[in-house]
Amino acid sequence: MAGVHRIALMQLATLVPSCLLVWLALDETTALSWMCGGVVAVVPQAWFALKLFRARGVQPATEIARSALSGEAGKFLLSAAGFAAVFALLRPIEPGAVFAGYGVMLVVQTIGSWRMLMSREQKQTETPKQEL
């Protein structure tokens, strides 16, 4: 659970400074579009992670499958609604910046997930095995 929060925080910690950098380097419209793309990536991902990691562990397979289904469906619907809202309501908009912000958040998520897996595996190999 802590790892999941860490990934979401890492995404937010990347989004805000990168948005400020875009604002300073380019303009306000591009920065706002970048921010919206990032938020469209972070919120559904946080929902998905929350649903799935709540069901993790030793639980009936049906329970885990149900959580996975609702998490996946929620993520998809939230993303679609987010993109629709951004493209329908935000004017003026810079579509390239929206997708760039989304893509950067995706890269951060991939790196965070990979690091989380690696640290988990490292912890497991470092823990001495108890011999019977």
């Binding site: 993520k75 329908a88 998520q109």
Partner: protein
């Protein structure tokens, strides 16, 4: 203009099809692996969740592009 909507529909549906196949394969392998070695099940679940989160990123980008086509390229059609 109608072609834009058809393009958006194809984009969403093919992306969804690919993600469905990918997640189905992932889930099938998770169940297979958990049945073979139940002690590895929690670890496999985490890997599955992370993999699933990445697999569905591509269709979601497809949905985003479709929304762009619908609401920005052809706003009168929406």
């Amino acid at each position: 203009m109608e072609l834009v909507l058809i393009a958006a529909a194809i984009m969403i549906s093919l992306g969804g099809l690919g993600a469905a196949i990918g997640i189905g394969m992932l889930g099938g392998k998770l169940i297979e692996g958990s049945a073979r070695q139940p002690e590895l099940a929690p670890k496999l679940q985490v890997t599955f969740f992370l993999g699933a989160g990445l697999v569905d990123a591509i269709p979601i980008i497809g949905v985003g592009l479709a929304m762009y086509l619908i609401f920005v390229v052809a706003p009168g059609m929406a």
